[in-house]
């Protein structure tokens, strides 16, 4: 997993529980891209992803006293973010405003802008589109595992699922992606 080795979870957690405002800012700085990334891959819109990511950090700030610390701080944040994304996706409003190719292309363009490689950009756009077409639950495990680098156990902890379910869901998602990408590319 792409952990930031500079972040000491245990010390940070102690300071967060003590109400250290600086500790909260450090946590946001350390995990902002990961939390935002999950929200963006799940929701497909940057504004909505920022809204959900902000809410995830605020909820963590409010409920840090109840966090036992038996999991990584990042896993805990992923769990909060995942729950918020799934709730948002399940809302009636979001069902009316589904992903569209334009939004996915914008996400792909943002990701590939640094390389400015047409083929890469097209490939990434196809991957984003294929990921967006997955069901919500399959998309989430793909994002957490293949994009965010979580292990099966961390995903199981974050989503409160058995490891076997995570494994099965991930395999089905990858098989489905393979079919979609072979057609697209």
């Amino acid at each position: 997993m792409r952990d930031d080795p500079r972040v000491d979870d245990r010390a940070l957690l102690s300071r967060l529980r003590a109400g250290d405002a600086q500790a909260f800012e450090e946590m946001v700085i350390a995990y902002q891209h990961r939390v935002f990334g999950v929200a963006l891959r799940m929701l497909g819109r940057r504004a909505e992803a920022e809204e959900v990511a902000q809410e995830a950090f605020l909820r963590a700030h409010r409920s840090v006293a109840g966090f036992r610390g038996d999991a990584k701080l990042s896993t805990w944040l992923y769990a909060i973010t995942s729950r918020l994304c799934l709730n948002r996706l399940a809302s009636a409003h979001h069902r009316r405003v589904r992903h569209d190719d334009e939004a996915l292309a914008r996400v792909a363009d943002d990701a590939a802008s640094a390389t400015d490689h047409l083929e890469r950009r097209e490939r990434e756009a196809a991957v984003h589109r294929a990921i967006a077409e997955l069901g919500d639950e399959r998309r989430l495990v793909i994002v957490l595992c293949d994009l965010e680098g979580l292990t099966y156990e961390e995903i199981a902890g974050a989503l409160e699922l058995p490891v076997g379910t995570v494994r099965s869901r991930l395999h089905r998602a990858r098989m489905e992606l393979r079919e979609k990408l072979e057609k697209a590319l």
Partner: protein, 320 residues
């Protein structure tokens, strides 16, 4: 191991989670199955492609916005947020609650006067009751029923009159009040009426008056008394005012006069400065009654209805 079993283990293989024994079995299958080898190659490429996507980055200023939002809000802001937000949920609920409270208050307010009215004593006015209009469905005069028998020839005495008579009979005799007016109808009171059950002695009207009021109250409280009152609500056929020297004496004399002419006193009530007597006289006795009435006191012009008097003439006499 079948091809399906082998392909089912591709994710474990790619993620290096395959147990050693399973890895050996899978490798053996892949060594002999070109199709599964091709599938595995495509599977690995897909996973690699997904993992190669550039990670997303939070927008500029994200940390500042989050830390600003996490700062403690003033207590009034927290109260306002708790009371009004989210608006789509809390506003309708609060509006409905206010409406419910308003409806409840209005309902109670409307109900309270009614309850207060119900708490009031349901006894009708006794001394100040004014004659009411007769019900529309009741004929104004018994003339519409020509075959109606003469009501007072052999009719039983009204109960109230009987009660008064008994009260009068029980009251101790006392000298009559000073007769300052020459028209004091003492002979009438002394001789009594022609009827068999006429009172035999003149009563002390002062002693009777309080008991009369009680009797009137009792009488009017009876259900049939209310019905009678409804019948009497129609305007009198004859009204007259008599100026008398002594109202008690005049009241007694008037009773005697009514009884002598086969009539009945329906009501007697006290008003400021006067006593009002309502009675019924058979038509054929009315002329004689009127003459006797003139003897009681100085009469004001009487009012008589233009139409022929009914078989039962209702008279209202005001003794002043």
């Amino acid at each position: 191991m079948t091809c399906a079993d082998a392909r089912e283990r591709f994710s474990d293989l790619v993620d290096d989670r395959l147990a050693a024994a399973d890895r050996i079995t899978l490798d053996a299958h892949l060594g002999g199955c070109a199709a599964c080898r091709r599938e595995l190659k495509r599977f690995r490429a897909t996973v690699a492609l997904v993992r190669s996507i550039e990670p997303a980055r939070a927008p500029a200023g994200f940390v500042d916005r989050v830390t600003a939002a996490a700062r403690p809000r003033p207590w009034w802001r927290r109260v306002a947020d708790g009371a009004f937000f989210p608006l789509p949920i809390k506003l309708p609920i609060e509006a409905a609650a206010i409406l419910l409270v308003g409806v409840g208050v209005a309902y109670l307010f409307q109900r309270t006067p009614e309850l207060q009215q119900q708490a009031r004593v349901e006894t009708p006015a006794i001394t100040q009751e004014a004659p009411r209009e007769a019900p529309a469905d009741q004929p104004a005069a018994p003339a519409a029923k020509p075959d109606m028998p003469r009501p007072f020839a052999d009719a039983p005495e009204p109960p109230r009159v009987a009660e008064e008579r008994r009260a009068i009979a029980k009251a101790p005799a006392s000298p009559p009040p000073a007769a300052t007016a020459p028209a004091a109808p003492e002979p009438l009171g002394a001789t009594g009426a022609k009827r068999e059950d006429a009172p035999g002695a003149r009563a002390n009207t002062d002693a009777v008056a309080p008991s009369r009021a009680r009797d009137e109250a009792k009488e009017l409280a009876r259900p049939d008394a209310r019905q009678r009152a409804a019948k009497l609500a129609r305007p009198a056929d004859v009204t007259a005012s008599l100026r008398v020297a002594s109202r008690p004496a005049a009241e007694s004399a008037l009773r005697e006069l009514v009884t002598r002419h086969r009539g009945a006193v329906d009501a007697m009530r006290t008003e400021p400065g006067a006593t009002v007597v309502e009675a019924r006289i058979p038509r054929d006795e009315y002329a004689s009654f009127a003459a006797g009435l003139a003897a009681l006191g100085r009469s004001e012009p009487a009012r008589e209805t233009e139409a022929d008097l009914p078989a039962e003439v209702r008279v209202t006499i005001r003794l002043e």
